[in-house]
Amino acid sequence: MRFMRLICYSFVLLGLLSTGRPALAEDTIKLAYTDPFSGPFASGGDEFLKIFQFIIARKNAAGGALGRKFELVPFDDKLQPAEALIALKSMTDQSIPFVMHCTGSNVGAALIDAVSKHNARNPDNRILYLNCGALATELTNEQCDFWHFRFAGSVDMRAAARIKALPADVKKVYLLNQDYLFGQSIQHDSKKWLAKLRPDVEIVGDELMPFGKVQDFSPYVAKIKASGAQSVVTGNYNRDLNLLIKAANDAGLNVRFDTFLAHLIGGATAIGAAGENRLTSIMEFNGNVPVDLKVPAAEKFAEDWRTSGHDTDFSTLNFVTMIDMLTDAINKAGSTDPLKVALALESLQEKDMLGQDVTMRKDDHQLLMPFYAGIFSKDVKYDSEHTGFGWKNYMTASATDLTLPTICKMKRPE
């Protein structure tokens, strides 16, 4: 009994301590960031957080925005929409004006909806949703919203770049995707762009596999072999991609793997030599792009990331673009008020770190940005994750190439 009382008292004390905490320095601009930091997708969230810390430290060293520094406030949403909404409540309670979120279109859709409702009800405490990686095309089409800005290419844009980057001698492809929202939209958009751009290509296999449940890919490899495909076009990532390529390599299956996401963190390590000269991916950035484009500043940025104690490679150029554009919009608006910043962001045109044109389209708040197609090769200046293999770029899809029509009908605040 006495023990229980002790526990109760300590909780009360804890509560008093946390409410009595002094308000943090008023002069920082708070950036909330929600992503999974626990559970099976924690490796991605963890890595993104480090990248944001790196980018923001540099931004602050360069003076921040309006003479104020940025402060990153992370929240763990466990890749669950419900958890993200709880986190959102906590952000708005603290009057944080901006929320960044990069993983999971299901979470993204929930956030768009919740942010929109919150802003309508609380015009004096609004929040702006900066999306850095929820990719479902719908988020800037049917579900588009004034308070949501996407700083990452949609599935549709990626698929267009992916099919564009398919070599001309590939005539038979096998589509293999994960059986959930993201995989299905990749399957749908790949077929759409194949029909549009490459009518000469025959689809010899079109398959959905259970997401994250397959332990042994040899049966799929046998099926791919029997189909006579030259290339497997797949949106698979992490384990679902690594095991597939390993199994194909073990079985001596000689096909290309034209993927959407093989460059994600850990991919190079897990795949290794099995992917040499036959694995391709569609990327926002890799260490060798600035070498090809001769942009020493961007090359140094990637180098600094690698030499500052990170085992991984810098690949999310769009995060830098996002923070840059946000800073410029805040400066332009002269305020951190979400409405003013949103209006300043719309139609904002800039050059990214590589000197390429990027535009925040006003119609749907989708960033129009370029993508780079690379093949996994030894013949590169910078390798990935110390594997000896890196991404050798063989095609660029510019922002103009990827300016796709939108069906967004946005409701704008008066």
């Binding site: 099976p40 924690a42 490796s43 963890d46 890595e47 059986d179 398959e207 959905l208 596999m209 259970p210 994250g212 449940k213 397959v214 332990q215 042994d216 040899s218 049966p219 799929y220 490899v221 046998a222 099926k223 072999k225 029997a226 992490n238 384990r239 690594n242 095991l243 390993k246 073990d250 079985a251 001596g252 299956l253 963190i265 850990g266 390590t269 897990a270 290794g272 085992d311 991984t312 994750e385 594997t387």
Partner: protein
């Protein structure tokens, strides 16, 4: 025909990997009555330890050392954890191992990080053993088959044909009597648990480089192993073996079947009404739901034969 034979071989290899993992669990489950949720976590530890050890002294010493270390970890868990919890009954033990899953998962992430490890198969085993309808059969898979077969025979002989096995069986079914006869029953429990964990560790050494060594590997292998144990039946190593091979075959054949339930009844001249849930269910190809079939089978067997395929007693 060709694809049938290739699938048969694939199913056999995957089934044997499942068996390696499941045999340790079935041993612990059937003898101690503890459904060890943390079994797949020990499998993960085995893979990580093997990776670390193999970096210093090579793969083959790791093949011995990593399972031994896993056995020691298992013994520690039994002595300082399970034995205390045991007094409170099976539910407490179940919850204890359930908690362990999270602790082990988090520890592995803290020690080795969240990224996959570059744990590769040894160069001596990295060549195609033979070509089968134009597809390589890697030597490493042959090695996997060999190790799991050796494991099956050794475990079976140990339990059925030796004095040690006799004492273990006696201690597990009649603990008071075995104890009265002068045998140290708690130690027998420790040995069984440690042995089961060592087998999981061995599966980890072999499976870690066959698949990938990363923090999610325990979560992805865990459920299917339970299916094998429940399906195979309590107290039966042979049942576990048959169930493992069966699950391996089901998964590898399901993938190559593009037909759906509807294709079965189509010849009867049946047609389906428009676009609704039932139509969707009938027309989904088997390949798309292949990985879920084992779980459906588990439900069926629990409904119609709760003791499992070759179980000797009900739970």
């Amino acid at each position: 025909m060709e694809i049938v034979l290739v699938s048969l071989l694939n199913g056999l290899v995957y089934g044997m990997l499942l068996f390696m993992l499941a045999s340790g669990l079935t041993l612990i489950f059937s003898m101690m009555g503890v459904l060890n949720f943390a079994h797949a976590s020990v499998y993960m530890i085995g893979a990580y330890l093997a990776f670390t050890v193999s970096q210093y002294i090579g793969f083959f010493p790791a093949l011995i050392i990593a399972p031994l270390l896993c056995g020691l970890i298992g013994a520690a868990i039994e002595i300082w954890g399970l034995r205390r919890v045991h007094a409170n009954g099976h539910i407490a033990e179940l919850l204890f191992t359930f908690g362990l899953v999270f602790i082990i998962g988090r520890s592995v992430q803290m020690i080795w990080g969240m990224l996959p490890m570059p744990y590769r198969m040894p160069a001596v085993l990295d060549f195609p053993l033979f070509t089968f309808y134009g597809e390589y059969f890697p030597a490493y898979r042959g090695f996997m088959l060999l190790v799991s077969a050796a494991m099956l025979i050794t475990t079976w002989l140990l339990l059925k044909k030796t004095r040690v096995g006799l004492i273990i069986q006696a201690a597990l079914t009649h603990p008071q009597m075995a104890s009265a006869l002068g045998h140290n029953v708690p130690r027998v429990f420790t040995i069984v648990f440690a042995g089961g964990c060592a087998l999981a560790g061995l599966a980890g050494v072999i499976g870690g480089n066959y698949q990938t060594t990363e923090p999610g590997m325990a979560d992805s292998m865990g459920p299917i192993v339970f299916v094998v144990v429940v399906f195979g039946g309590l107290g039966s190593l042979l049942g576990c073996f048959v169930a493992s091979i069966l699950m391996g075959m089901i998964q590898s054949f399901a993938v190559v079947i593009n037909a759906s339930l509807f294709d079965l009844i189509k010849p009867l001249g049946v047609s389906l009404p428009g676009d609704n849930l039932f139509t969707e269910f009938m027309t989904v190809p088997v390949a798309r739901i292949g990985a879920l079939l084992p779980f459906a089978l588990m439900i069926l067997i629990l409904l119609f034969r709760p003791r499992g395929l070759m179980g000797t007693r009900d739970t």
